[in-house]
Symmetry: C2
């Protein structure tokens, strides 16, 4: 049996709004799996080697449940444009460039490093529609130490001139990609990725739903991001009372589905998400940048909908998940203002849970530092932060770190038990 | 005559929403003052030495028109607390610690360096109520290369136990500080700083108004940040129909006054600001973090009120002004959502103007790279940003830089003609 021990101030997020703090605690792994967090080192382990992070903070690492990997190339550009102009001026052209595998290699290698450096170890990512570049993204994520899912995008209609595929191509390439990708990487697996209802024909949706069932695959897409998109889906699917039903009818709306945004999901749609076990990827920065609206996150959580966080680069301009966590807090405070100080905002502990444990659960783990999971953690060195007037508690240091940390302050990153930074 | 020439892609912000772009341009200074920006090097200057920043961007530096310097020590802490608890748990205790001049020296030195590193060269700052530490703040700002104003805070009532002064102390210390500080530093001058109406007795306000007139001093304070504060002022000054009148009646509301926040300023209050030439320091991140509301910035600008930006640390958790600029954009997009997509949001060019030229004008300059001004500029190296799919224009690179730049990407900083980074 291999034992690993990591020592420091351990801050876990076992449940929404709950923090479990162990000052100068010991995080013990047996054969790569978490045995537990202990305030005192149990006698059994007294001869095992200890990695001592001293006064640093040890936190669960982040999970980014929605992002468009090729759009990393256009991070922070075109943010003054409305959604459709933004898509046509930048997004589709940028994604089209990923036909070039050398370019894909360069961008995806930089992206993977940046994510690990910023403490993201789990991801559910859109690639572009290109099969080869999708494989490159999976490979670069794997090499950098990431875990999670990557999806070749499907889009056979309403996709503009530069970035589209025929229904037949989309089906053929998806099958070929799945055959190649399913067992190729240890930590990165495929996820079916219909871009969103308007860009996928009924035939393609039916095909993907069938694939999901036959191969037992997860699914990711977009839902109710903005009002004109919702109206468009209503025109395309007059048989569906609501947007979500355009996924449901093809078997693409279940407990292995991540739906990004859900900004305008009303009570009926939220109920459908809860009853179908769908995961919401809340993307606060993207929703503000594209002036989509503010998702009713507090309501979703209260109602029992599974909410996680996504950077949604490059609608979101923030790749670093600590910034996405504070963006979720800020958006929730905006929601409180918007509802005339009625809806509660998200506390730091609550938003941190959404960005870590909540997202981790999608990947079939218990999340945080739960017994039996492999270690996904970051080590935060907050010594470069301003000198406080009073000595801060570990809880206060944790809260401050969420607001202030940059990759410079993340001293170490563990992913699936491996030290990857 | 001394001539300095700086070469690069020059992006100026001469007016609200306007960018003046000169690719591979020459910024020429004569005896430290800007002569102009030229696309070709005029014959007259062909023998003068050129500092060539090659492919980098040269932009006006930032002006932070509202911030609490001692609160840098508590940046990012206590953000879950409502305003009054936040003040009592952290803020007043933190400021009280600045009685200790050695601690003040440590924090203010770090703050000044961090501001210059992030491209802020002009500031209008609150110190604490302590005279000696206020002098230290001025000295550290001066040494680091900052320019602008610092104010010893006045607060003789409703200020809690740990941080207060009697009316007599406040008047005596303010006079002593002004005698000492007025000619002590070349670039940092005093500004009168009644904390806000609730913490200043009528006697103190009258004294400060008289001082402002006699010594021709600028004034900074807070206005209409949140609704309970506004109600409190109404109780304290039943003779005033609106909050701003509690400043006006003492001569503290004129064209040399900066009022922070103005979140809940209605048309009548906005008209009073415009007619009195008052400067608004819009502090978007603070207003969101403390759930104060979203200021009607677009309305103010349209009506001709002078709007500038402030970090308002530590109600704001962002000291770096590029982040305050994007925070203003995001807040304006929230305002657009809140007004059912009626109010326009701030474009990058508009928000950049507020964070640079608009603030610079408060200090009596024309702002940007106007002829006759001394140089306040940053040089941005965007080579570490993701590799774009298409070649970006200088305008696109500028917009991306506003969203993505950190101090790492700011290669050089000029303040009042001196290279300070």
């Amino acid at each position: 049996m291999t034992v690993q021990i990591i020592k420091g101030h351990i801050v876990d997020a076992p449940a929404f709004g709950k923090l479990a703090i162990t000052e100068n605690g010991f995080l013990i792994l047996e054969n790569g799996r978490i045995e537990g967090v202990f305030a005192e080192l149990p006698e059994t382990y007294r001869n095992a080697p200890v990695t001592d992070y001293a006064d640093k903070l040890i936190l669960p690492s982040f999970a980014d449940l929605h992002m468009h990997a090729p759009q990393y190339a256009m991070l922070g550009t075109g943010m003054d444009l409305p959604l459709l102009d933004w898509l046509n001026t930048y997004t589709f052209k940028t994604e089209a460039a990923f036909k070039d595998t050398a370019y894909a290699r360069e961008v995806y290698r930089a992206l993977a490093k940046e994510m690990i450096d910023n403490g993201t170890t789990r991801v559910c990512a859109f690639s572009s529609l290109h099969r080869e570049s999708t494989m490159i993204l999976m490979e670069e994520f794997e090499k950098a130490g990431m875990t999670g899912y990557v999806g070749k995008v499907n889009m056979d209609r309403n996709s503009g001139d530069v970035l589209t595929e025929t229904t037949e191509e989309s089906m053929r390439e998806t099958t070929a990609w799945l055959d190649e990708a399913s067992d190729q990487f240890e930590h990165i697996k495929p996820v079916l990725t219909p871009r969103f209802t308007p860009t996928c024909s009924n035939e393609l949706m039916a095909f993907l739903g069938k694939l999901a069932e036959e191969r037992n695959l997860p699914v990711q897409s977009h839902l109710s991001e903005n009002t004109s998109e919702i109206a468009w889906v209503r025109e395309l699917h007059p048989d569906c009372a609501q947007y979500w039903e355009s996924y449901k009818k093809y078997g693409l709306f279940n407990e292995r589905t991540v739906m990004a945004h859900c900004v305008h999901s009303d009570e009926r749609e939220r109920t459908a998400m809860r009853e179908n076990g769908v995961w919401v990827a809340h993307c606060p920065d993207s929703n503000i940048n594209l002036v989509s609206g503010v998702a009713p996150v507090r309501k979703m959580v209260n109602e029992g909908v599974r909410v996680t966080l996504g950077s949604d680069i490059a609608g979101g301009a923030l790749l670093a998940m600590p910034q996405v966590v504070t963006s979720a807090i800020r958006a929730s405070k905006m929601k409180r203002i918007q509802t005339d100080w009625t809806d509660d905002f998200l506390t730091v502990a609550e938003a941190f849970y959404l960005g870590t444990t909540a997202g981790a659960k999608f990947f079939g783990t218990n999340g945080g530092f739960a017994k039996g999971d492999t270690l996904h953690a970051i080590v935060v060195d907050d010594s470069a932060f301003p000198t406080s007037a009073q000595k801060l508690s570990v809880t206060e240091r944790f809260e401050r770190a969420i607001y202030l940390m940059t990759k410079r302050d993340i001293a170490a990153v563990y992913s699936d038990g491996r030290k990857v930074k």
